[in-house]
Symmetry: C2
Subunit: 200 residues, 2 copies
Amino acid sequence: MARDTKKRRAELRERLIDIAEAQIREEGSASLRVRALAEKAGCAVGAIYNVFSEMPGLQLAVNGRTFARLGQRVTTAVSSRAEAPPVERLIVMAEAYLKFAADDPNLWRALFEVEMTADSEVPDWYLKDLSQLFAIIAGPLSELDPSAGPDEIDLRTRALFSSVHGIVFLGLERRISGVPMHRMEAMIEYLLRSFAKGSE
Amino acid sequence: MARDTKKRRAELRERLIDIAEAQIREEGSASLRVRALAEKAGCAVGAIYNVFSEMPGLQLAVNGRTFARLGQRVTTAVSSRAEAPPVERLIVMAEAYLKFAADDPNLWRALFEVEMTADSEVPDWYLKDLSQLFAIIAGPLSELDPSAGPDEIDLRTRALFSSVHGIVFLGLERRISGVPMHRMEAMIEYLLRSFAKGSE
DNA sequence: TTATTCAATGAACATCGTTCAAACCAAAAG
DNA sequence: CTTTTGGTTTGAACGATGTTCATTGAATAA
């Protein structure tokens, strides 16, 4: 019996994540409703709380998937041009990031909208995945300037990632501007070529 | 009577913004409660809706103040060093931005957390103030490279502002990293000197 | 003084996340 | 086969939330 329960729980868990993911993709993370979830999943509201003790946990689970896909997209984008000079690789990665965000703005935005109650800590995989993403960026950067120590590389990595993130974030913020895609690409290219010039 | 009413409304309006501002500063914009507001303002909940037809409107009013203070801080910071070379002025402005955000993280964050219902448009002053902020940045940038046309300057301005914003945003995101202040300053300086090098 | 007008009031409403006593089910025990 | 038992699933109920609107009340006009 215990086995059966575990299986059903796991199935329900996956189903819930599927439904929540679709909902966030289409209507944004603020549109998640327990009751709507329960109806679509064909279970009672209480059953959801057997799997996710709080709603933010479900959000976090969706974010886990999103993060994984993001990492994959960036990785495959850069691996297809492994021989290109460091700057070009940085640009490829940054534009993969941009494209990912533009393709699924709601899911991407949800990554930064996790409700932060006092008790819920940041999961380990969150920080691990993030540092992996940083590691991918650090590669070309240290190639660009082999004389820079690890501390300096870390600083530049964070600065660069944050900058690209800022461009994407404000660029996709419909209410402020609504910058067309090709201009965002131009900004990123300008940013990264400047970076490269400043780091050689 | 009409005069009296108008006056009382205006007073209540100011009082509400005061209270909401203090609340957001201390507990974040998500902690705003109509009932708590009414109690502190000494009025009924309904009275609030005579002044702000929806809660997001009050948020927006607080943001208006915040934006004004932000603009002032950046402007006075740079005007105190009007003779410095363009790069230095950019750094001064960016660090004023950083310091402003770090001093009042909740109020600053609230600028980007406005609930966006379909009907509520972005107020005019929002875009106007933003373009004013952009204009301040554009100055040093076009000094740095007089050959760049207005379109190119606009692109660089947005890219630079967004980049600084990204560094501050992710740096203050406690849950991801919690980057110490001096490292954020170092990132900004690195970013802007690279920018300058790439633009000359 | 009386009538009129409009703002202020706060109980009521709809909706949200969350809880928990009761119903239920499947396996073990009698 | 029937009964007991342990755990899960259920959905009504709870406490908060933003928002509304019939009622109250006070100030002006007649």
